[in-house]
Symmetry: C4
Subunit: 199 residues, 4 copies
């Protein structure tokens, strides 16, 4: 089974997810009682958008990381099957919830539960990505380009652990959770050299 249409479809869905998030950046409304405008046009009116914007930046980077890693991984893949297709759709499902989680976290200015749910969405995406690699390993031999490039996938497992810690620490202070999520992003901005090497 060819992998190209799976790549096209995933690219499409990920491109839409990363772009429609911006629809949550709503233009600031005028203060009640303001005489002339329906919308506020001062620089200070943008301040209320800062938490939503911060949330947007983190999610933009995270989705881009998923796209990057997906790109590199699929490049090393030789063939796929029905199970891989569904593992990939399962990953896209969790990623599709990112715009919701991003908006909820931003609009509530990083209070506990929204930050927890944001972490839950990304930990589920991380687990779904692990399942995807696993379903690919099953149909590639141990000494295939794919298997050698994936290796022990330490970084993937570590990310899930840090996310789990971040979620737990939200109940002390949600900003600790946010900081840990951001740490994982920084870890991954460096592209997955394992796959790059083999190309």
């Amino acid at each position: 089974m060819g992998k190209s249409r799976l790549e096209t479809f995933s690219d499409g869905v990920i491109a839409i997810i990363i772009t429609i998030m911006v629809l949550e950046l709503k233009i600031p409304k005028a203060e009640p009682g303001s005489p002339t405008n329906v919308h506020a046009d001062s620089l200070s009116s943008l301040k209320t958008l800062l938490p939503v914007f911060l949330s947007y930046i983190l999610s933009f980077i995270n989705i881009a990381i998923y796209w990057n890693n997906h790109h590199h991984m699929m490049h090393a893949v030789q063939h796929i099957n029905g199970a891989v297709l569904w593992a990939n759709i399962h990953l896209l499902f969790w990623l599709s919830l990112v715009p919701f989680a991003t908006a909820w976290m931003g609009e509530n200015n990083f209070t506990t539960w929204p930050v927890v749910i944001y972490g839950v969405v990304f930990i589920m995406a991380g687990i779904a990505y692990y399942f995807l690699t696993h379903s690919l390993l099953k149909i590639h031999s141990h000494d295939s380009k794919f298997a050698r490039a994936l290796g022990s996938d330490r970084k993937g497992k570590l990310s899930v652990v840090i996310y789990a810690a971040g979620i737990a620490l939200c109940f002390i202070n949600p900003w600790i959770g946010f900081a840990l999520y951001a740490l994982v992003s920084v870890m991954w901005i460096i592209p997955d050299r394992r796959f790059e090497k083999t190309e």
Copy 2:
């Protein structure tokens, strides 16, 4: 006539449909009288979203099934014509109504008419898919890879029958309808092995 641009366009439309549905998952609003927030940020505030979320999951799976089957079927296809293009657009039309039907069903917490209309949209999509296979059969010989892979299409016909039963039973209890729709999805999550075998 080449099939590749039809595949690209269908992938694009299906990717957008599956992704914009998430825009209906709106972040919960604060209770009237709540002092500090415009939005609710408690875990319990997400409870009101559960029916919309359940509706979203079913539709996400269903659209993914259509993409999967479309993917497998088009892979076996050797050529297309103008009639196939329009049969495909007709299918996309019904699928394009899924976000509306999903939102209406979820927001109304699975009351009778919204569940009926949800079933109608998918039964029409099922019929449109049947027309599409039919228009493809017309331009492929009986012993082509495509025709042999399609076979009697028993599963496709059975789905339409179960959907029709589901719609009728909604008038007794819409959850029976919902259960039957979900049954069809389970039937199809297993990818269409007919086409997989021939690849």
Copy 3:
């Protein structure tokens, strides 16, 4: 200059246009004073959506026709240049206004000015399509596959004339305008055999 990325980009934009129009199909709201629901869930509540739905169907078909014809025409094209790129973007600009014109016409239940503006958007798209064919003719010889397939483009010119008549007749009765727009759509649902023949 290769035509493939122009095709991909146009497919993307057209796929998005055809799909986001459905966002204007908003789920019906409860009547003021209704006790239990925020949204209406009766079959009759869908009746208020009928004009929007009718408007949606016409636009879905029209955008599909543009995609179909664009698909066939670009297939016959051998090369493009910078002027073709801009003629294509000019076409996409007018098509991008279709969701707005569709919603305005539907929400106002086909009153005069919205039906006029709908016609204006499509007459401009028709003219932009003419410019696109013209810019392509300039870089293809008179006996090229493309030039022979295009011929005198009588159907394209006729469409613009019928649209112009439709716009004018809206001031007598907007439904006459709507009927003429629909007539043009019917004319084009038959795919452009000129290009099909040469493939």
Copy 4:
């Protein structure tokens, strides 16, 4: 590392950005006190949309220019690496803010701060584009097709300078800023002949 999936992903994101902007063109609402309609359907009711529409046109052209130049540039590129992927994502990030900046500028009818922020978004996109060319230069030899085509990139640098001037002059009159932004667009509508020549 192959460049084709980067092109596909960028095309997808840019196609979505250019298309979802139209969602900000909201159909005009009825005047309070209007008896029969929820929406206004007169020609004059469209007048209130004019600033939003003007803002939309400028952004549509600007995004199209970015797509055009990106298209031409990537065509001359021979290979990419991880740094190029991230430079490209950085560019897409700034472009993703265009729908917000466009809506804010249009809705407020070109008052100072919205026009300034619009300029800031595009100056950042211009800088991001410069970084992208720079990251590509690093992995192409000085006499490669890419390097020779790029040349001194005088036009790119000039654009950033004019944008900076436009932003500063907004504080005298935002229409001067808008005029300078439009000037840059006119400069670029002529496609980047440098790359065209080498194709």
